[in-house]
């Protein structure tokens, strides 16, 4: 027996075990597509792990290759399928600022409503994904149905969905086993570097997966209140910039956290850009979150970050 196990790595409890390196993703039911999680397993405990995105954007444009402003916006929006409105808005703002356009309050307001709509839909999408990961079929069905309705809804219909969204939150508060499944999992204290968005705001509370769930549910309600007070959404469309030139910077609070874009515009063409997203920082937290956890808890911790592999910039 000693001969068989003498060269094997030791677990935390001193047992000698075969450790396995197991891939989860890029296509895995409990994780967003495109995210590859590689975990080293000691039984069903995780000794170490890392996450990589297989679909993330590459930062900055190719040398000497200028892109038309409209094309740039379309490309950025389509490169981020889980938050296309947010990145469309980010690109519009950065280009308009580079072109020296002043803010227009009516446009800003309609854009902000569109952004809040996307935030609600995105958080519902995360809830559906969490339901899939936890084997909670009712949550998956309900959240996915509401997400589709939100995506199709106008301002008035959105308000009609308010009771359903309140009911969803109330129901989750009453669901047995949910709290014990999420409480104390994936703790990120408020001082942790690189936190942004709901993950950062939940860190001010308990900083665990349970707090992140409630942070997103609170944000859904807050966004609904904002839409109620403001009006109809308007998809961000680039205003007339002519052949403007300059340097522009913009920041947008996307559903997953802050995204920053700085770019150089020359005669209406984007010459170069630099993008920074919350997911690019959050993905680096995975190793710390999964180490020493049971496999199921490790996956819940990763899921609770709501990583979008498309928003991981390399």
């Amino acid at each position: 027996m000693i001969e068989v196990t003498k060269d094997l790595p030791r677990s935390a409890d001193g047992l000698a075990m075969d450790w396995m390196e197991v891939p989860f993703g890029p296509v895995f039911p409990g994780l967003p597509g495109g995210l590859k999680l590689t975990l080293t397993l000691d039984g069903d405990g995780v000794t170490e792990g890392q996450a990589t995105s297989l679909v993330g954007m590459i930062n900055e444009s190719e040398e000497g290759k200028e892109i038309d402003a409209e094309t740039f916006i379309e490309r950025l929006a389509s490169a981020m399928p889980l938050a296309s409105v947010s990145y469309r808005l980010l690109a519009c703002l950065a280009i308009e600022r580079a072109a020296g356009l002043e803010n227009d309050s009516a446009t800003d307001q309609a854009r902000a409503v569109a952004l809040e709509c996307e935030r609600i839909a995105s958080h519902l999408g995360w809830l559906a994904q969490t339901g899939r990961q936890l084997g909670f079929a009712w949550l998956t069905d309900r959240a996915a149905t509401l997400q589709l309705e939100i995506r199709r809804a106008s301002g008035k219909r959105l308000l009609e969905l308010t009771p359903a969204l309140h009911a969803l939150a109330a129901r989750l508060g009453r669901t047995p086993l949910l709290k014990s499944r999420l409480k104390g999992i994936g703790i990120l204290p408020s001082g942790t570097a690189g936190l942004s968005g709901p993950v950062a705001r939940a860190a001010d509370d308990a900083g665990d997966a349970w707090a992140r769930l409630w942070q997103r549910l609170d944000e859904i309600i807050t966004s609904l209140d904002y839409i109620k007070a403001t009006g109809e959404p308007g998809l961000p469309v680039l205003r007339n910039i002519g052949r403007g030139s300059g340097t522009g910077e913009a920041t947008v609070e996307t559903p997953r956290g802050e995204a920053q874009l700085s770019l150089i515009l020359e005669h209406g063409q984007v010459k170069s850009y630099r993008l920074d997203t919350a997911c690019s920082h959050h993905i680096g937290l995975v190793a710390k979150l999964v180490e020493g956890r049971e496999l199921g808890d490790a996956l819940v911790a990763v899921g609770s970050l709501d990583l979008s592999p498309w928003e991981v910039i390399s």
Binding site: M20, V22, F24, F28, P29, G30, L41, G43, D44, G131, R132, Q133, L134, G135, F136, A137, W138, L139, T175, P176, L177, L178, S180, R181, E294, L295, G296, D297, L299
Partner: protein, 298 residues
């Protein structure tokens, strides 16, 4: 003859359960879906993993099916409609269902894949949690009937079903039965969101078909056991005895199915802790209460 009738009843119940399962999942009531799905499994390529333990890999789905049918063999549909009315029937069902663990460990080990293997070993942990909660409530049921014969156990509930006589035992047995059948929220060995199917992950084609048939049969067997032990078996007005047995069995099976939809998967550590620190003391309390009732109430 009894063998054929019970087997047909089992198959019919499995079909109905599969229809209901499809209904709750897709929202469409399609009575032909289980048959079409079964045929589709037969027609699909049955892939064998690269370096399997071939004996374990091939045997596991069949063993699980045999275990589920064996368990049903001692459960009566009517006073004379039982395959084997053993003197140790209540004990036999425990013994038969112990092999569910063997089948799942084999299904986990056989394909030589990480997800399947973790799923198999997870079920070993699950067994340590639920096993006592299967045996102890049955002990209380046998105490009231003063017999391990399943037809006598049903007979003992003529005036008062055990769900009323020992409700605590019913709740514990129902939960443990769901864990034994690895239905959500106790689907730790399969856990699609964590293990991509776990013990099911490497099975395809006809082998997967057998595995799914076995899982549904196991649910029906455990629902039938719940009916026999707690819901008065064949007792009921107007309808023939076998009809009552089938109605109650299906009602229990469907409730097992639905309960899982509204709950997230339990953590293995929590399952173990709650079963041992709460479940077993409650099961002991149930035995004591039933013992006192048996002594005091004629």
């Amino acid at each position: 003859m009894n063998f054929v009738i019970v087997l047909l009843a089992l198959l019919g119940s499995v079909w109905l359960l599969a229809v209901v399962e499809g209904w709750t999942t897709t929202g469409r009531l399609r009575p032909a879906a289980p048959l079409l799905s079964g045929l589709a499994h037969l027609g699909r390529e049955s892939i064998v993993p690269r370096t399997p333990d071939r004996v374990f890999f091939e045997t596991a789905p069949v063993l699980l099916l045999i275990v589920a049918v064996l368990g049903a063999a001692v459960l009566p549909l009517a006073p004379t409609l039982v395959i084997a009315d053993l003197a140790t029937g209540a004990l036999f069902i425990n013994a038969a269902l112990a092999y569910v663990l063997v089948a799942l460990i084999m299904a986990g080990w056989g394909p030589n894949g990480a997800y399947a293997m973790i799923g198999g070993w997870r079920f070993l942990g699950q067994l340590i949690a639920y096993a006592m909660l299967i045996v102890m409530p049955i002990t209380a049921v046998a105490m009231r009937a003063e017999s391990l014969v399943t037809t006598v156990i049903v007979g003992s509930q003529d005036g008062l079903w055990n769900i009323v006589y020992q409700p605590l035992g019913f709740v514990l047995f129902f939960i443990a039965a769901m864990a034994l059948a690895f239905r959500a929220p106790f689907d730790l060995p399969t856990a699609p969101g964590e293990l991509g199917g776990g013990v099911d992950a490497e099975y395809t084609g006809v082998r997967l078909g057998v595995l799914r048939l076995a899982r549904l049969t196991l649910v029906i067997t455990l629902a039938s056991a719940t009916t026999v032990f707690y819901l008065g078996g064949w007792h009921g007005p107007l309808l023939p005895p076998w009809a009552w047995s089938l109605i109650k069995t299906l009602a229990v099976a469907v409730s097992m199915l639905l309960a899982g939809r509204y709950l997230p998967r339990i953590r293995e550590a929590d399952l173990m802790r709650w079963c041992w620190t709460l479940g077993i003391p409650l099961a002991l309390l149930n035995i004591i209460v039933v013992g006192l009732l048996v002594l005091v109430v004629p």
